[in-house]
Symmetry: C2
Subunit: 221 residues, 2 copies
């Protein structure tokens, strides 16, 4: 322990505690006093660092998204194969989400609690993460690994949905590890569910079913 460690307020511990409570009860239903008590500090001490409850949430989410980007980046960088990079990234994302890091969960499910500027800030961070994923998918597609016509943005959106939802039903005592879950999802998504003798007539060959890529005048989101 350095001298600094003695002087330094356990900010990480506070955020961890807050994340845990926010996850359990939701942001609005969690009181500052609860957080303070659980973290072993006084409410005033929290106020000293975070002028408002919302600031705590933002700090929490900020940290979580940095962690997520770093984890996925590191995992993906272990290979140069574009398809493998996606699979490893997926694994890392799920591992982090299920590792007990409540911050990521809160980031995913509690952003509705934010409004105004704080919301925009988080959305901006989230967009960065999404753009990062889009990049990986784009490279996999560019390497000719994916069917032509696949809408990468939709793939990312579907993938995020399926994977993020896991946090909703996963239990550590279950019969599958996070890594296994990630790999199973990856294999289903990559190969499809239909058996080989069914696949030719089950769906249109062109997977980009609706004509999408024309930028519409009506902007989305």
């Amino acid at each position: 322990m350095t001298k600094a460690a003695l002087r330094t307020f356990d900010e990480a511990g506070l955020l961890d505690t807050a994340a845990r409570l926010f996850r359990q009860k939701g942001f609005a239903a969690t009181t500052l006093r609860e957080i303070a008590q659980a973290a072993g500090v006084l409410p005033g001490s929290i106020h000293y660092r975070y002028p408002a409850k919302e600031a705590l949430l933002v700090a929490l989410m900020d940290r979580a998204i940095e962690r997520a980007i770093a984890a996925v980046q590191t995992a993906a960088d272990q290979t140069s194969d574009p398809t493998e990079r996606v699979r490893l990234g997926l694994r890392a994302h799920l591992q982090l989400l299920l590792s007990g890091d409540d911050g990521v969960y809160v980031l995913l499910y509690d952003w509705r609690s934010l409004a105004g500027r704080a919301r925009e800030e988080i959305v901006r961070l989230r967009d960065r993460y999404e753009a990062f994923w889009d990049g990986m998918l784009y490279e996999a597609a560019g390497a000719g690994r994916l069917r032509p016509g696949v809408d990468l943005k939709l793939v990312r959106l579907f993938g995020f949905g399926a994977v993020n939802w896991v946090a909703t039903w996963y239990s550590p005592g279950g019969d599958r590890t996070p890594e296994q879950i990630a790999d199973v999802f990856w294999s289903y998504m990559a190969l499809g569910l239909l058996s080989d003798d069914q696949r030719h007539d089950a769906a249109p060959t062109n997977l980009s079913v609706p004509e999408p890529p024309s930028p519409s005048p009506k902007e989305g989101r």
Copy 2:
């Protein structure tokens, strides 16, 4: 206007309003007074019907899940082909979720706000819905349409995740209708993303058992 219409309290309208607000701001952050004002009734009138705020949420969710089951059932029953039933059911689920029926959204994302008995009740209802889906998937698998070894429960979980997550990013002005989104997801999931010349060596043939292939020497964290 029948006599009954005059006498009958607009319970549906109340629940709709409550659902809209819960979706926008979350359950805990929405006050009874807000709901009352938005619905054009007095707070006391709500209390007359629902002894506690939580009861409102439960009633809302109850109604939503009944709607969902009915919608999916109806859609699926339009064909007897097991695979088609799944596709049509998926469509119906997404249509309902994106139709502006905030109740379904609230059901999916706000169940954390419930505790104790109320929570159990909703979980029980949800389980019924899930069992219903499992039945459809089981029949599709039984008809030999799916690859052997596919874990149906995981398929359902992944599918729910991807589809439910759509509510998070969908905007009515976008360039895809709910039906198109459902169909695209279905085609990706059914056929897979990999191009035909890649699929043989990209993943294990047996989709059921993950067992980390350990291509990565460094196991991340």
